[in-house]
């Protein structure tokens, strides 16, 4: 594994890679220095499979990548000193058979953008069409020019299917072309890391079981060595071109290849439509899996290329109708919020009871694991825009409940303890103080259940998965905490969201979230007494949950008038920010944990996240003071932080600051702010663009069947409009500086709050005044860690500060 300290690019780094357009991400010229970043940005996925935006011809590449959700290999997790309950084996996503490859020979020269002359090269990700289009004009070293156009999609409607429409035309002279469309397993990868055992596992992870061809079709079946998984990749082709074409197909254990050779005169075109199907299973036999992908191919061929394009656009139209966010005044954020929503949909759409990894299926970062990010930052977006995907993810958690129960048992705890990081449900964290000890993930999952049920009223889900998830996590909390001699319920020795503190007592975020978990479990059990009884929940047990919740300790520092993040936090020494050089961020790469843990320095919103997630537990004045206090301590060494700071900054009236944080979370990948987009996109950070706009400037909060808005816009945004779904309704909120308009697009209507004002939204739009937000002094951040301003300010701090570069490590605790 890389330690994340990869060299910084020094060429062209400050020029934008992509144009700013509302519905597209366009790379107008090929940036070889940013190839790995653009491969992540241009990744296509449907949640089941993911294809990085590698060039069709394979070379050059930043990081070749094709992934199947939950298809992984085991690798050893070594420990210098072993400990009880440490996982000794980890799961790591592997690069599966690459079906994207279409190589081209022009006369005698392989088409390779690094040789000859690249006359033009444009790639466009179209977020309404759901396609990646590439248009190239290239002149070979021998002087022959061709025009290549490829359009790629990963189908949102046909889960197993991807397709590529690949066109070659001569520009002026006749050319002899040979196209080779391939499936390649066990591609060699750059940088397999320092541990020779891990490198050995990942170097050639797939063992061939079958390779066959038939006309234009080929199938490769492989299995993993250790994890016992089997996968099949298949391709079929539709070929159009001149009359005289020679085609040939061949296969080997790790390669299948269709070769088309022909001569193209000017005006002629060779078109290859390549259909790809992928499947995997831990249980199905080789013939079954083989037949499954071949059947998927048959269906796709039947639909045809144009049919796939149409289905794709229709699926996306439906999505955008309940999810789009319009931002006037900040074109970058406008593009970024759609880019984020598009990738969130891609990560979740067809995951179907598999997890959503921190990087989606866009890269191998974090070993392809899922974390609390998904429930805390990604699912809120899906819950209100594409709720079935939120349900699917939570049903996946429910499927892993057995493993979580086993883990709790292993740890000597009741109920279920979900893993800090995993692919299939087993704990894969190698550092327990920022893994196992971060028990809040269990409350985060419970909270996502509560939110989903609140937003949909999906009683089937509640009965099939929701209640059991709440019950088992409530049991965990009940056993994890204890009543002290004064009857206060304490949760000691856990790690909250801020990973620059660890193993602390009574973390406010954790305790508040646990309180909700306990209360909601008791309430849901009461709604379903039959089911509760089947789960063994006695009335006494539910009462003990309510009691623990009521007695929950929420520490408060009367002296300072703020909540300590955890008990005793405000007694600790403050980090010496003045003495910390800019190049020493992120701190965890330059300072030991022990020093970070024992001082007041915050990696990512923790108490501030509590104020977003559990706003009801704080007065407005507490929010203002707490926000101010923690702003001065928060360094945002995690990409998860800015969005929460955006939401609370908006709530406490710091609208420009909120806008700055919004920019940071939204542009994380398009601007490669952390210089690690190469390893995959920051799905949760991109979700923050939506949260910053909808929960921040829209002031959206929902709980207990009540949907509230408190809209307010910063100076840099003149209009904000967003659609969302709630309880069968689709509504649209449009905010300007003075007013907010609420409109029902679909559904039977609902009651809403605009600030404290309750009203009924039905057929007729409702317009409300937006109150004036009084200005107050801007809180200060640690020196050098201020967010880049969205608007050039009078003191001359320009937009370029948004490119502040820092290196991110690839550990669980540095997202």
């Amino acid at each position: 594994m890389s330690d994340g300290r990869g060299g910084r690019h020094t060429t062209k780094v400050d020029l934008p890679v992509f144009t700013v357009e509302p519905w597209c991400v366009r790379e107008p010229e090929l940036r070889l220095d940013r190839l790995a970043q653009s491969e992540s940005v241009f990744a296509l996925s449907n949640g089941h499979m993911g294809l990085r935006g590698n060039l069709d011809e394979g070379d050059p590449h930043g990081l070749p990548g094709s992934y199947l959700n939950s298809f992984y290999e085991l690798r050893p997790l070594p420990h210098a000193e072993a400990g009880y309950g440490y996982p000794e084996s980890g799961q790591t996503v592997i690069n599966v058979t690459n079906g994207k490859l279409i190589r081209l020979l022009v006369d005698d020269e392989p088409f390779d953008v690094r040789y000859g002359r690249l006359d033009s090269h444009e790639r466009i990700l179209d977020m309404r069409a759901g396609t990646l289009t590439r248009q190239v004009e290239w002149t070979s070293p021998a002087g022959r020019s061709v025009r290549v156009t490829s359009v790629r999609l990963v189908s949102l409607t046909q889960r197993a299917i991807a397709a590529i429409c690949y066109d070659v035309e001569p520009v002026d002279h006749s050319v002899r072309v040979v196209a080779q469309s391939e499936l390649v397993a066990n591609e060699s990868l750059p940088d397999l890391g320092r541990d020779p055992r891990t490198a050995a596992v990942l170097e050639s992870p797939l063992v061939s079981e079958e390779h066959v061809t038939n006309h234009t079709k080929a199938v490769l079946v492989h299995r993993t060595r250790h994890s016992g998984l089997r996968m099949a990749a298949a391709m079929d082709h539709h070929i159009e071109g001149p009359d005289h074409m020679a085609t040939d197909i061949e296969s080997y254990p790790d390669v299948a290849r269709l070769t088309v050779a022909t001569r193209l005169e000017p005006g002629q075109r060779l078109r290859i439509v390549k259909y790809l199907a992928y499947g995997w299973s831990s249980r199905r036999s080789r013939p079954t899996l083989h037949d499954q992908v071949v059947a998927a191919l048959a269906a796709a061929r039947h639909t045809g290329w144009d049919g796939l394009l149409e289905e794709q656009r229709a699926y996306l139209d439906d999505f955008w109708s309940g999810a789009d966010v319009e931002v006037d005044g900040d074109a970058e954020v406008q593009q970024a919020v759609r880019f984020g929503l598009f990738h969130i949909l891609q990560a979740g759409a067809r995951a179907e009871r598999r997890m959503i990894p921190a990087k989606g299926l866009t890269g191998p970062g974090y070993d392809g694991h899922t974390f609390w990010d998904t429930e805390t930052f990604v699912l809120p977006v899906l819950t209100y825009t594409h709720p079935s995907s939120a349900a699917d993810t939570l049903r996946w958690r429910h499927m892993t409940l057995g493993l979580a129960r086993e883990r709790a048992h292993q740890l000597g705890l009741a109920g279920a303890a979900f893993p800090w990081r995993t692919i299939r449900g087993q704990e894969c964290s190698g550092y327990w103080p920022a893994g196992t000890a971060a028990f809040h993930i269990n409350a985060d999952i419970a909270d996502a259940v509560v939110r989903y049920v609140d937003a949909t009223g999906d009683e089937e889900f509640e009965r099939e998965a929701g209640l059991e998830l709440l019950v088992e996590t409530a049991r965990l909390w009940r056993g994890l905490g204890h009543h002290d001699v004064e009857g206060v319920f304490r949760i000691d020795g856990v790690t909250g969201p801020d990973e620059y503190s660890s193993i602390a007592d009574n973390n406010v975020y954790t305790n508040l979230m646990a309180r909700r978990n306990l209360r909601e479990a008791a309430a849901m059990a009461m709604r379903h007494p039959d089911l509760a009884e089947r789960l063994g929940v006695s009335t006494e047990e539910a009462a003990s949950w309510r009691d623990a919740a009521a007695a929950m300790m929420i520490p408060y520092d009367e002296r300072l008038g703020v909540h300590p993040q955890s008990e005793g936090f405000t007694n600790h020494a403050r980090w010496d920010f003045a003495a910390t050089k800019p190049e020493h961020y992120p701190l965890l790469l330059n300072y030991p944990y022990f020093d970070l843990y024992r001082k007041q320095v915050v990696k990512q919103a923790d108490l501030v996240l509590a104020m977003h997630m559990c706003g009801e537990a704080f007065t407005y004045e507490q929010k203002v003071r707490n926000f101010d206090y923690y702003e001065a301590l928060t360094v945002r060494d995690s990409s998860l932080s800015a969005q929460t700071q955006a939401v609370i900054a908006a709530e406490v009236g710091q609208l420009d600051l909120a806008h700055d944080y919004l920019g940071e979370t939204a542009l994380m990948d398009l601007h490669d702010l952390n210089r690690n987009t190469r390893d995959g996109l920051h799905i949760a950070s991109m979700a923050g663009a939506w949260s910053g706009l909808v929960a921040g400037f829209g002031g959206m909060r929902a709980a207990d069947g009540v949907l509230r808005f408190a809209p307010r816009l910063p100076g840099g945004i003149s209009r904000l409009a967003f659609s969302m779904r709630y309880r069968g309704n689709r509504l649209k909120v449009t905010v300007t500086g003075e007013s907010a308009c609420y409109e029902l697009l679909e559904g039977e209507g609902l009651r809403l709050f605009h600030y404290d004002q309750e009203f009924e939204l039905a057929d007729k739009p409702v317009e409300m005044d937006v109150p004036h937000v009084p200005s107050s002094p801007r809180p200060s951040q640690p020196v050098g860690r201020e967010p880049a301003p969205r608007r050039v300010d009078p003191h001359g701090h320009g937009r370029d500060r948004n490119h502040r570069a820092f290196q991110q490590p690839r550990t669980s605790h540095a997202r």
Copy 2:
């Protein structure tokens, strides 16, 4: 590395292996089932080299072992998730060239105790002679009987030298014998652990550089692959026997062999005196090292076998005259305290500016590392019995000060941060919450300096090493702590002695020891202003140490009337001892750290250790209440704990309980209580036998030039007498139930305290009354964790409970 869960022996396990004798440890019959334990018990060492008590003929063996102090190899320290400041390479002791081997062929049969008939087999460790004697009568499968006697010593007077006197005689019939005396490098070892990289490092760690023979002499020179160390082992022989003997000598890269063949008639004897010399260096050339061991051999031959025996006894006579402890009434403890003193001397006598490992040079346990044990538990014994060895060890620490400064700098701290575990001075701990965070080791080293200077008045040491050690550790504390808003000096986020808590704020032991460190540094700097100036200590800096010391936070729980071990400790849930099964101890092998850390459960004396080391900080009533409180929480999963509990139990009047703990610490290895004596002896635990008797029942405390006693005996000990050295005096204290007699054996006399009574001790012995200790209720321990009683009590709990077996893991935090 073994995980310490090795199978338990089920045969004969409860029969004593050794007889109980005052000056010997005798194994009257060979116990193959306890071979590895007896190899540790019978290990001979002088601090420079150590030879396990392996049988002369090599086979069978438990664990072959020959060690040179600080001769190590590097091994990778893998981390599942890397972190700043984690050591990536560790040091591990290696088994060097084995010179103990003398194989024997009797007619055609190799002498092997597992074949033929073992008519008698006795081994005796003589603690006054400093020899290991073995007497065997064996009949070969073919019916030929021989008597073999070997006497082995590792010279305390000639540091590089060991010697073996090996005799063979026929019992009744004439026999043809062939003796092969060997040096063997790269012996194959059982169980090299699970990490293939570590096993690769340790499998054949020595690379041959030279092998030569000359008459009866042979030399092998080797170097390590990674650590860059070179060693030489040499042997020479004196042979006596019948006239017709054929001798031959040969050498190969990893073997040198002298062969003696002869026929012995009844009454004839073959005697081989084998002289062994060892040397190593990181800097000296091959020829220099070669010459060094050959020269050492020449000196030893000149001294001769009888001369070596005489020197050995004289050295030990001198030691015992200032160190012996006599115990009437408990023969096991009598033997054990001498056994412990003997091995402590062996560990430290000729270490000479090298470290004293936790296992001495008796086995490979803990990778051969030294820990805080040495300064905290072993050096107090040496300081008052063999002070030059204490000085040597501290001078070794001083030699590593550069590395400790580098480590502090790496951690962002001032001064010096000594390693938690090491061989040569580099941090080798793979788990920072119980490694780096245990900063108390720095105060422990400082305390050992203060104690040594107090006990000897060695001003040369003070100026050459002592002051700089105090200054650099004081600087560490000054930077590690901070004044809070109320002016209290806090030390947050550190780990105290109890490894079932971690990363806590204001650990009482740590804060009290740091306070002493700061104060003593300031005081010593004031005594040596010239030197202080050279070390850059300004008067302001010294003042800031005094100020921090004066403002040091010592948390106290007014509600319970006890000191919390660390801030907040007494708020935590108590461990559920009733639900913890006996086989679930030690807890760290069966429960996760997070659960241990957040509950009230104590692995080893921590607050109770503070009451021993810093008794002046507690009132008597506090000591009584604290002891009672922590007794109920302390499970003694560390072998370091019982001795401290013995000392404080004695101080608070729990004399029988003190006696029970004394038994546990004293018999750790002779009874193999933790079932891991195979990996080497528990040097610190054995030091506890001395502490339990002298500091416990003798009530000895010394500070600021004042030596105090408060003697009191438990019912099971009728008389206790001990000699010790203090400020150039050698004195003897003899205690009975009623009185104590103080006697000056050597020196100019000194003032003493007997309880509160001050008196002058000069030529004439002084007799004092011992006050009656009122009985009070015995504190209770966690259920099942009561110490085994030294005397059979009326409720029928017998001695056999001393054999309570538990498995110990080989991590830093389970000694």
